[in-house]
């Protein structure tokens, strides 16, 4: 039991440090503990027998350090792979959000009316995609934004009553559609 305690003290002592007197006395008369002490000494002496990295490996590590530093100075390492796609997706999302915000909140109210009238969406359906008569140069994003805005408004507010002029124009539009349909069917009235 005492040997184990002594050996633990030997093992746990700092390399090169002098052992306490009671430990030294025990080691002097105990072959086993002396063997442990010699082993410990031999083990710690191997510190001076270091292998070392080659000059080429040193150059590689120093080169790594400099390249990292250069990366920091230029705002980070060059993007590649998924990082590039994440950056691209984030930029696209910001751009779309900006367009939506501009369309919904920043444009003058009068401009909205002009644009909606230009699209000529049917009164029953405010969806630009359902209109069927969408011009080729029509901005889909703006159409979507306008649709969302109109849907939101229609839920919260009552639809404005059309003026007499608008009612007459709508009537004329409906009769025009009827005529065109009849022509398509090959029967004229």
């Amino acid at each position: 039991m005492e040997c184990e305690k002594i050996q633990r003290q030997i093992v746990e002592s700092a390399p090169g440090a002098e052992l306490p007197a009671p430990v030294r006395e025990h080691v002097a008369r105990c072959v086993v503990c002396r063997g442990v002490q010699k082993t410990q000494e031999a083990l710690m002496k191997t510190m001076s027998m270091q292998a070392e990295p080659s000059a080429a490996l040193d150059d590689v590590v120093r080169g790594l350090a400099r390249s990292r530093l250069a990366g920091v100075r230029t705002g980070g390492a060059p993007l590649s792979g998924w990082r590039l796609w994440v950056r691209f997706a984030a930029a696209a999302a910001v751009a779309v959000a900006g367009i939506l915000a501009f369309t919904l909140f920043l444009r003058p109210a009068g401009e909205k009316d002009v644009t909606l009238a230009g699209v000529q969406a049917p009164a029953a359906s405010r969806s630009g995609f359902a209109a069927g008569a969408m011009p080729w140069d029509y901005d889909v994003t703006r159409s979507l934004a306008e649709t969302l805005l109109m849907d939101a408004l229609s839920e919260k507010t009552e639809a404005p009553r059309p003026s007499p002029l608008e009612e007459s124009l709508m009537d004329a539009e409906v009769s025009l559609v009827v005529v065109e349909t009849d022509e398509d069917n090959g029967s004229t009235n």
Partner: protein
């Protein structure tokens, strides 16, 4: 009048601030301990040791901006080296980095020996090297880190083990080595 040597923390701060030469001085301090530790811990071919050494420094460079002076750079860097070596062992367990029999057959034994073994001149040193290589991995690491001057508490931090466990590993490692070196001790 001699200048006060720069502390590790000062060198790190200088490097993070853009002074590449500061890293060179830091590297010069720790290249030998880290390489020696990996060389004997992995106990493999020189190419693997070189690769782990490079990986270790790459991780150190990544982590340097987050380094805090709460622990010695020595033990901090050894923990990174330890993690790199553990990753290596995991890869080896999956057969990723094991040498095939064909490759091992062509590589001369002399090249397969570690650099440390090649340095060991006398019989005692060779016997000691062999004894260390036969230790359980955890015991071998405690011995190697102790040889590099880490305190037992620092070794406990590196291994993420209780202090008493680390002390026990050292105790049993020395006892095992003593039996192995019975002819000399």
């Amino acid at each position: 009048m001699s200048e006060r040597p720069e502390t590790d923390h000062e060198l790190i701060a200088a490097y993070v601030g853009g002074d590449a030469a500061a890293f060179d001085r830091l590297y010069a301090r720790y290249r030998l301990p880290l390489y020696g530790y990996l060389n004997r811990l992995v106990h493999g071919d020189a190419a693997t040791v070189d690769d782990l050494f490079q990986q270790t420094w790459s991780r150190i460079l990544d982590a340097l901006p987050r380094y805090r002076d709460e622990q010695r750079f020595l033990s901090w860097s050894f923990r990174i080296a330890h993690n790199a070596a553990m990753d290596h062992y995991r890869g080896a367990a999956k057969g990723v980095v094991e040498l095939s029999d064909e490759v091992a057959a062509v590589v001369p034994d002399e090249q397969m020996r570690t650099a440390w073994e090649q340095l060991a001149g006398d019989e005692l040193r060779e016997a000691l090297a062999e004894g260390i290589s036969r230790l359980a991995a955890e015991q071998r690491e405690v011995v190697l880190l102790r040889q590099q001057g880490l305190s037992f508490q620092e070794i406990a931090d590196v291994q993420r083990s209780p202090l008493n466990t680390v002390l026990g590993r050292m105790y049993y490692a020395v006892r095992h080595l003593r039996r192995h070196l019975a002819a000399w001790c």
